[in-house]
Symmetry: C2
Subunit: 203 residues, 2 copies
């Protein structure tokens, strides 16, 4: 259940020029896919902006789906790396750690390239025949939220209560993302943190 961090890196601090072709592609893909969506970015554009030849691209990623899969994997890994880092600074046990999610969200929404959640997007984009593998990455992301939240809930409440609180908390999280994106309202995370506090009172 541990993340296979082998091939996963945080490329955000590196300049494009300093990176090897594969990572240059991934960094560029991350920016382009995030801004325009995987369906609106063609291989040609990705290659051009990665300053890589087409041959090299296809040597590293046998198909477009492969680079999308790598993108999703790295986004997933990075999101939970950051969340873990954020939460590790929090004192106050499981409850405080769950509430810290909402501070983390507000920070995320405030990034200037925030453009919604790649996985909520994937929920819609990966419904067809040849992208089932990509839909699997989306499912994994939601499972990771399950791991993160349920582990902590189990320390606080009875199993029956976990089954109620988990979907509620996940709704508050995903709802925050949609509202932040749709209304441009970054502060929604803080408002929803209050709700999370109230459904966890007594824990």
């Amino acid at each position: 259940m541990k993340a296979e961090a082998s091939n996963l890196k945080d490329l955000r601090a590196d300049t494009i020029e300093s990176l090897k072709p594969r990572d240059r592609i991934l960094k560029t893909a991350s920016a382009l896919f995030n801004e325009y969506g995987v369906n609106n970015i063609g291989i040609d554009r990705l290659i051009a902006e990665s300053s890589v030849s087409k041959r090299t691209f296809y040597n590293h990623f046998p198909s477009k789906n492969e680079v999308i899969a790598a993108y999703l994997e790295s986004k997933d890994w990075l999101r939970f790396s950051e969340l873990d880092k954020h939460v590790s600074r929090v004192k106050g046990g499981a409850k405080a750690e769950i509430l810290a999610i909402f501070d983390f969200l507000e920070q995320w929404f405030s990034e200037d390239d925030f453009n919604g959640c790649a996985f909520a997007r994937g929920l819609n984009d990966f419904n067809q025949g040849d992208v089932k593998e990509l839909r699997g990455k989306v499912d994994l992301y939601f499972e990771h939220w399950g791991d993160f939240i349920k582990t902590r809930l189990k320390a606080l409440v009875e199993p029956d209560e976990v089954k109620i609180l988990f979907p509620q908390l996940l709704s508050l999280i995903t709802g925050s993302v949609i509202v932040a994106q749709g209304l441009g309202d970054v502060k929604v995370a803080a408002l929803n943190k209050r709700i999370a506090e109230s459904i966890l009172t007594g824990c």
Copy 2:
């Protein structure tokens, strides 16, 4: 602020054969766009399944974006028509009407062709240059939620409180959609109704 119901109809009960070309296209588009997403359905497929000639299609809709716009408009209109109908049967004033949203959601999620929200999807799909008009339809949908909810909140609480409760309620609504779609959990609407009740206690 009233919906221009002129050209908007509920086509769900009609058979494809009984409809005139334009409505046949809209009914087919609704089914295909809902299942696969607007980016994964080509004009050719839409035309073939509508049993309409290409010329006829382009006579009614000058471009693909136009048919998508019509689809979004009808979805928006239909959603709030249904919600209004649902809510009109509820006794108990503004608070009960807000809570009734969540019963409505559960009903929606239970439809066998439920596949997430076209507008949450549009939030991601319509970010590019030539689809700004479509993004406008998404914004309108969120505005309609604002109209529906804020009108009722104003009858219950002070304006300052409306600014807090509206994003929270909208998060619960949109979060329900994502969780219902992502986890296949229809019951999430009922769980989130409880939260809505609790943030409206005393109203």
